[in-house]
């Protein structure tokens, strides 16, 4: 089972996303994360979907996605060089001593404190998923109140682009 990041360009139409998501549950594929928004061409949406599967299933997933009428193009970007990014907002308990500890940890991971309360900090971090996982781990004893992640979005590292 390998991590796969699948990029989907599809019509920005009602129902299109539910068909993509439905396909995954219907055929028993997993979705680890899902990220969707319109592109610079507002008639199109770009989806980045992360899943874990073997090669055969990955091939089926891309083919099945391509078969959906609303889907324009599909690319498994993990097949080539690519960039992946994810953004995380994380609210942690931070009182007394802990406040400097959290701040220091955040600095190491190039995070930003975006909201401060007397008992908590909210931090923003971006990077690839392992970095964000690493940050949560690095927090150690500090108690995490809330984690919000955007899910991975990714792009291939070449001039080739997913477009009409």
């Amino acid at each position: 089972m390998k991590k796969r990041i699948i990029s989907i360009l599809m019509e920005n139409e009602p129902g299109a996303l539910s068909r993509v998501v439905g396909l995954f549950s219907q055929r028993g594929y997993n979705i680890d994360s899902l990220n969707v928004a319109p592109t610079h061409d507002l008639s199109l949406s770009r989806v980045t979907l992360m899943t874990h599967c073997d090669d055969l299933v990955a091939e089926q997933i891309t083919k099945q996605l391509n078969k959906l009428i609303d889907v324009v193009k599909v690319l498994d970007i993990t097949e080539g060089r690519h960039i992946e990014r994810e953004m995380m907002l994380i609210k942690v308990k931070a009182k007394g001593e802990q406040r400097t500890e959290v701040k220091r940890c955040s600095d190491i991971f190039r995070g930003q404190i975006v909201d401060v309360g007397p008992t908590y900090y909210t931090l923003m971090l971006d990077g690839d998923s392992t970095k964000l996982d690493g940050f949560i781990e690095a927090l150690g004893d500090i108690s995490v109140l809330e984690v919000v992640r955007t899910g991975v979005c990714g792009i291939a590292k070449s001039e080739k682009s997913l477009s009409l």
Binding site: E59, Q64, I69
Partner: protein, 579 residues
């Protein structure tokens, strides 16, 4: 000149402009504007069924027989959900169909209004695509797209859900029907890859034990003609799936018959021992492969299909060719024209000798796997043989699901495509009678027989009323074994004969009286000696529906049968013999 039309009128006009002549449907609140538009026109004939499931099966039977897109109109809520079984049936067998469903008014969607069901949501996993119409002006374009999507590429059902306000007679717009269509996100393949075809042909000609394996895609893709030429040119043994019966003549010498769960011994043996299998328009599902880990161990597999997802879905394919079947096979024929090389004749002869030996050993026509019929003992297999004889092999045969379906598939030789209409993928009991109605509408000149069982026929029995209203002379051949025979067979084989819920006690209706109650003719047959004569009698009543209730041996099983978790050569060939 543009005309001002309401949404309801525009819908019916768009259907006409699309070339639709016939729709099957059932009215209700959310579809009433549409039904009023139907009332005020003469171009499209509407057939009122007795249950929405039957509307979809009838449209499906019409599509399978004619090759055209079937059309259904139903109302919202229960009308729409009743249609789902038929939509799923069509989806599994890739049948082109457009289902128009009424929906509650736009302003009420999401309020749990009376008869509201999210039809687009409910049908999503069983449609090729669906549309929720959001304004009347979109109707012509959506109808154009719906039919194009339904029939092109790998065909399938398309749902068009239309809220009631959109068909309102009070709002009109300038109607025009689009002449062409281009959907940027949907471009079905038009041609197979020339390099792949060449590569496949080299392998095909180097084979020593080849099999040509024909699926339902050959019928959907109108490829029978070119496939026949290819087989003639190569001289290889042919096998068909349940869905592919008729794509290549059933009576042809080169046809080893159906493969799979209840396929012939010779077909399944040939598959297992082949060194090359050319799959033409099939999806290699579990009923045709048996255990995929043990599947055809020596074979290089070439797979031609229009749908890339069928490639390597269940079995790893060596040479895939994605494209329309007729076009790809034509490419193969061109290759043969330009290249002299043919398969090694000695090897091919040895292979044919082997196949013919299998035929002699356990071929169902060479060596029957059941006792002969006599007196009160009517073997279901013999009923199908008699049906073949009485109809001269020229009827359109629809079937339901169960033992009778397998007997029909095994014993009626289908010589041309679209002659055999059955629910292969979903296995929907209740499909037989309504699909036969659709077949009659598609082809008025050919007799249509529905081979069914007393279980299946009761799942859409209400359609006897529709047949009466429209004078549909279907011949119902009820193989009455007084049981859910196929279930019972599995219980015999795997559950030590514990017949859990597969018997009806004394509750079966008198089918002769039932047929008569609907204004039809009923004939009961209990003696083998009467069978042929009574069947002749039934088919002589050309303009009447005749319900033949034939009491067959309730203990009969369907053989051959693949042994679970085995390879394709692991079969029961009769109740007592296993390979």
């Amino acid at each position: 000149m543009t005309e001002m039309l309401s949404g309801g009128d525009a819908l019916i006009r768009a259907l006409k402009d699309e070339g639709v002549e016939l729709v099957f449907g059932y009215p209700g609140g959310a579809a009433l504007h549409i039904y009023d538009a139907i009332f005020r026109q003469k171009d499209i004939e509407h057939i009122l069924v007795r249950h929405e499931q039957a509307a979809t099966h009838a449209a499906d039977g019409y599509a399978r027989t004619s090759g055209k897109v079937g059309t259904v109109i139903v109302t919202s809520g229960p009308g729409a959900t009743n249609a789902i079984t038929g939509i799923a049936t069509a989806y599994m067998d890739s049948i082109p169909m457009v289902v128009i469903s009424g929906q509650v008014p736009s302003s009420k969607i999401g309020e749990d209004a009376f008869q509201e069901t999210d039809m687009v949501g409910v049908s999503r996993p069983v449609v090729k695509h669906s549309f929720l119409v959001q304004c009347a002006e979109d109707i012509p374009m959506i109808i154009k797209k719906a039919y194009y999507i339904a029939r092109s590429g790998r065909p399938g059902p398309v749902v068009v859900d239309i809220p009631k306000d959109i068909t309102s007679p009070h709002e009109k717009f300038a109607y025009s029907y689009p002449e062409t269509i281009d959907i940027r996100s949907y471009q079905p393949v038009k041609k197979g890859h020339a390099g792949q075809i060449r590569k496949a042909m080299k392998q095909l000609l180097a084979a020593k034990r080849p099999v040509i394996y024909i699926g339902g895609g050959a019928i959907l893709g109108n490829a029978s003609e070119v496939i026949r030429k290819l087989v003639d040119e190569l001289g290889y043994p042919v096998t068909n799936t349940l869905m592919g019966l008729g794509a290549y003549p059933g009576t042809a010498e080169k046809n080893l018959g159906m493969l799979g769960m209840h396929g012939t011994y010779e077909s399944n043996m040939a598959m297992h021992h082949a060194d090359l299998i050319l799959v033409l328009g099939a999806r290699l599902d579990d009923r045709t492969t048996n255990d995929t880990k043990k599947y055809c161990p020596d074979a290089t597999i070439i797979h031609v299909d229009i749908d890339p997802t069928t490639i390597s879905k269940t079995v790893q394919i060596d040479i895939p060719i994605v494209g329309p079947l007729d076009e790809v096979v034509n490419g193969m024929l061109e290759y043969l024209e330009q290249n002299e090389k043919r398969a090694d004749p000695d090897a091919l002869k040895t292979w044919w000798d082997q196949c013919n030996q299998w035929r002699q050993q356990h071929g169902i026509f060479k060596r029957p796997n059941h006792a002969p019929s006599k007196g009160e003992l009517i073997k279901p297999q013999d009923v199908i043989k008699t049906l073949y004889k009485v109809t001269h092999g020229e009827a359109v045969i629809t079937s339901d699901v169960g033992q009778h379906q397998m007997f029909a598939a095994q014993y009626y030789h289908f010589d041309w495509p679209r002659q055999w209409i059955n629910s292969g993928g979903l296995g929907t009991m209740g499909f037989g009678l309504p699909s036969a109605m659709g077949a009659v509408f598609a082809d008025r000149d050919t007799p249509v027989a529905c081979v069914t069982g007393e279980g299946s026929i009761q799942m859409c029995i209400q359609e006897l009323s529709t047949c009466s209203q429209y004078h549909l002379p279907v011949k119902i051949i009820n193989l009455n074994n007084q049981a859910l025979g196929m279930v019972k067979q599995w219980q015999d084989m795997n559950y030590e004969g514990r017949y859990s819920q597969s018997l009806y006690e004394e509750s079966l209706p008198d089918f002769v009286k039932l047929a008569e109650a609907y204004g039809h003719v009923g004939i009961k047959v209990t003696r083998y000696e009467d069978l042929e004569e009574k069947m002749e009698e039934a088919f002589a009543m050309k303009d009447r529906l005749v319900f033949m209730d034939i009491y067959v041996d309730p203990t009969e099983h369907v053989y051959p049968m693949l042994v679970p978790e085995g390879s394709m050569r692991d079969m029961w060939v009769s109740k007592t013999e296993r390979t």
